[in-house]
Symmetry: C2
Subunit: 138 residues, 2 copies
DNA sequence: CTTGACCCTGTAGTTGCTACAGGGTGCATA
DNA sequence: TATGCACCCTGTAGCAACTACAGGGTCAAG
C-alpha cells in the first residue's frame, strides 16, 4: 500500500508517517520504481501500535522502547510494565497539577464582580501588590 | 535592579526574562552605561504577573492579552473573565483527556500477568490484530 | 495531452523556554 | 596591578512532536 492509504488506515497524516520513519519508529519500506514508499501489513500493524501508544500519551522515546520490547517475544514483560507504570505516574502527576490549576481558576473567576478592570479580582490576584512608586516606564 | 536580581526575585531564569522581553511581554528596560538592563519596581510587578499567569497555565498569547487589559483600568473586566473562563474550559478538557488515559493505562497495567512479552496484555492491547501474513520486513 | 490527485525531498514554523558560544563588565583579592 | 570570578551582553541552536510549505516528479482519467 502507498503512504496515503497507510495514513488513512491509521488516521495519521502522511507527513507524520514520514516523520515516524525519520525518527526511527517505522522502518523504511520498499520503494516502487517511481520511488514511492510501498508498505505491507507489518507496517500497518506497527503504525497502529505507535498510534495507540501515542493516544495513551506515551512519548516517542517510550514508544521506541515499547516497540523494541514487543519484538523480544520470549523475554519477560516486566520492562513493559515498568514503562507503562512510569507513564501512568506521570499522567497522574499531570492530572494533579491541572486540578490545582482548575481550582485556582475557579476561585479566581468566581471572585469576579464584573465591574471594571481597576477592581477586577482576577487582575488583582494575578498582579498582587501594586507598588505605587512607579508606573511601567516604557 | 539588574536582570539577575529581577530573575531571582521572581524565581525566573535570566534567559527567560530576556525571552519575555523579545516576546513582547516585558517592555525593554533602561540600560546602564555598560549596556546592562536596569529594571524598576514596575518591571518586577509585571514579571510577577506574568509568572503567576503562566503558573495557572495561561499561554503567552493569553498573558499578552491579560497584560493589555490590566492596563485599561477603566474598562469593564468582561474580557478578562472571558479569557480566564476560556482557559478554565481548556484545563477541564485536558483533565478529562488525561483521566481517560489514566483509566486506560490502569486497565492495561492491571491486566499484565507478568509473563513473557509474547502474551503480555499490554503489548497485545497496543498492537491488536496481528496480521500473520508478514513480519516487519527490514 | 492536460488536469488533478497523489508522491518525493528538504526546510521552516509552532510553544515556551533552555543552553550554549563568544564576547564584555565590575568588583574583590593577592 | 593583575587576575580571577561572577555577572552581563548578543545571537543562535536545541527540545517534543509534529505540521506546513516550496518546488519538484508520477500516474490514471477524460
Amino acid at each position: 500500500m502507498k503512504i496515503g492509504e497507510l495514513a488513512k488506515a491509521t488516521a495519521t497524516k502522511v507527513e507524520t508517517v514520514r516523520f515516524y520513519e525519520k525518527a526511527g519508529l517505522l522502518s523504511p519500506p520498499a520503494r516502487t520504481d517511481a520511488n514511492y514508499r510501498s508498505y505491507g501489513p507489518a507496517h500497518l500493524q506497527r503504525l497502529s501500535f505507535i498510534r495507540r501508544a501515542r493516544d495513551l500519551g506515551f512519548s516517542l522515546d517510550a514508544v521506541r522502547e515499547l516497540l523494541a520490547l514487543a519484538d523480544e517475544r520470549g523475554k519477560p514483560c516486566a520492562a513493559v510494565d515498568a514503562i507503562a507504570s512510569g507513564h501512568l505516574a506521570e499522567v497522574e502527576l499531570k492530572i494533579a497539577d491541572l486540578s490545582a490549576m482548575r481550582e485556582e481558576l475557579r476561585r479566581l473567576i468566581g471572585s469576579c464582580r464584573h465591574n471594571t478592570v481597576a477592581d477586577c479580582k482576577i487582575i488583582e490576584t494575578l498582579g498582587p501588590r501594586v507598588l505605587e512608586t512607579t508606573r511601567m516606564s516604557a
